[in-house]
């Protein structure tokens, strides 16, 4: 087989016989990170615009594989492989199409971007505040909706969440993205999917659940939404309706205290594990507050879920809480 070529930021590099992408880039004098050179350390991880050779994606998470990430030290392409540049996505202008205050502290914003904005439901974008700060928010919509839906919890004293809550219809703002590894990959349509999140951790989970359904997922999908008390669980009617329309989707509401007949009561991780049943072959998506995500990840892992099947997006604050 004749060796391929790589293209990186406008530059073409012809590979020599047997040469890997890593070796080719190094020969061309480019600075690339590497470690083991044997496919284990993942230090040489790069992203391509085209599908990379399968051997260079062995052992990577399915979400990385789906985004054409690969190990440069394991890649011997035969055709042309164009690499993604190191520059991140450019900001895109968007307009507020609607804003609904769903509970006392959660608002649903729908934004229409001025330009094409590709993403996978469950990924997140950065909202750029006019003051120069930026904050991440997960995307609850599907590309076919035509808008970007965000669920924003107002943090007391929070700069960006407070500002977003005050925006009116037609207000303009800038967003950048997408980012993140928490989205559905249709590699096994019979697999059990377990989606667990607290508070606005629901946003990416709604996107992931709808995306899986739209892609024809047939295995059971359990979505567990947690909150402190029943009145904190927003969008529950929409979720219940979605579950009625989709036999494979079950929606569970879970609270720490004050449960009625419609909610489960108890720690979210324990309730989720009990509801999920057998975990063999399952994949979990965990989103929301950082501590809760850590707890969920740890508990599901100890309950037997492989670490590679746990996709998580902890909503970490952009600066540490004041002690």
């Amino acid at each position: 087989m004749s060796p391929g070529q790589i293209e990186v930021e406008g530059q073409r590099i012809e590979l020599e016989q047997g040469e890997t992408v890593l070796q080719g880039l190094e020969r061309a004098g480019l600075d690339v990170a590497s470690g083991c050179r044997a496919g284990t350390c993942t230090k040489c991880l790069l992203q391509a615009q085209d599908a990379p050779p399968p051997a260079s994606q062995r052992g990577l998470r399915p979400t990385l594989t789906a985004q054409n990430f690969f190990l440069a030290c394991q890649a011997r392409p035969t055709g042309l492989l164009r690499l993604r540049g190191s520059r991140g996505p450019e900001p895109v202008r968007a307009r507020v199409a609607s804003i609904d205050h769903l509970t006392e502290d959660v608002a649903r914003l729908r934004l229409t971007p001025d330009e094409r904005f590709d993403y996978r439901p469950g990924q997140y974008l950065d909202v750029l505040h006019p003051g120069g700060e930026s904050r991440s928010y997960s995307i609850a919509s599907l590309p076919s909706d035509g808008w970007l839906e965000l669920h924003v919890r107002r943090i007391p004293g929070g700069q960006v969440s407070g500002w977003l809550h005050e925006l009116a219809v037609d207000a303009e703002l800038a967003v950048r993205g997408p980012f993140g590894q928490c989205f559905h990959v249709a590699d096994d349509d019979q697999r059990k999917l377990l989606l667990v999140g607290a508070g606005t951790g629901l946003a990416p989970l709604v996107g992931i659940a709808r995306d899986a359904l739209e892609q024809g997922h047939r295995g059971p999908i359990d979505l567990v939404h947690g909150g402190l008390e029943p009145n904190r669980l927003y969008l529950r009617d929409d979720l219940d309706r979605l579950a009625r329309e989709s036999p494979q989707l079950r929606v569970h509401h879970c609270v720490l205290r004050g449960a009625t007949a419609r909610e489960h009561e108890g720690p979210l991780d324990q309730v989720a594990i009990r509801l999920a049943g057998a975990l063999a072959g399952a994949r979990a998506f965990l989103c929301g507050d950082g501590e809760i995500v850590h707890l969920l990840r740890r508990s599901l892992f100890l309950a037997g879920l492989p670490s590679g099947e746990i996709l998580a997006d902890p909503f970490l604050p952009s600066k540490p809480a004041l002690a």
Binding site: C36, T40, C41, G59, G290, R298, F301, S307, G308
Partner: protein, 120 residues
Amino acid sequence: MSLYERLGGEPAFQSAVDEFYRRMLTDERVSRFFDDVDMEGQIAKQKAFLTYVTGGPAEYTGKDMRAAHAELNERGLSDEHVDVVIEHLGAVLLSMGAAPDDVGEVAALAESVRADVLGR
């Protein structure tokens, strides 16, 4: 052929490292050193460690080892904790089908990094 390859290489070690890490998290003699918020990072490090001690493709220098464990040393990491890790390492390798002789060799290699791990 290295023990790493004989035991099935990367795919086998992907699940073995989960098993190893579960043992660390549930053994109360050592769990406090492993229960890190960055679970993915922890698992990646354990995988590199397992790969290294079984002769697989992983690089480790004494300097890396010292730097990686400096904070744990401050939190009281000591000989008996290293013993526990080596004990679990052996159990996981046996469960993967390693022979007792192999496990002895791996334990000897793990011994050789003890001083670096403990910052001595």
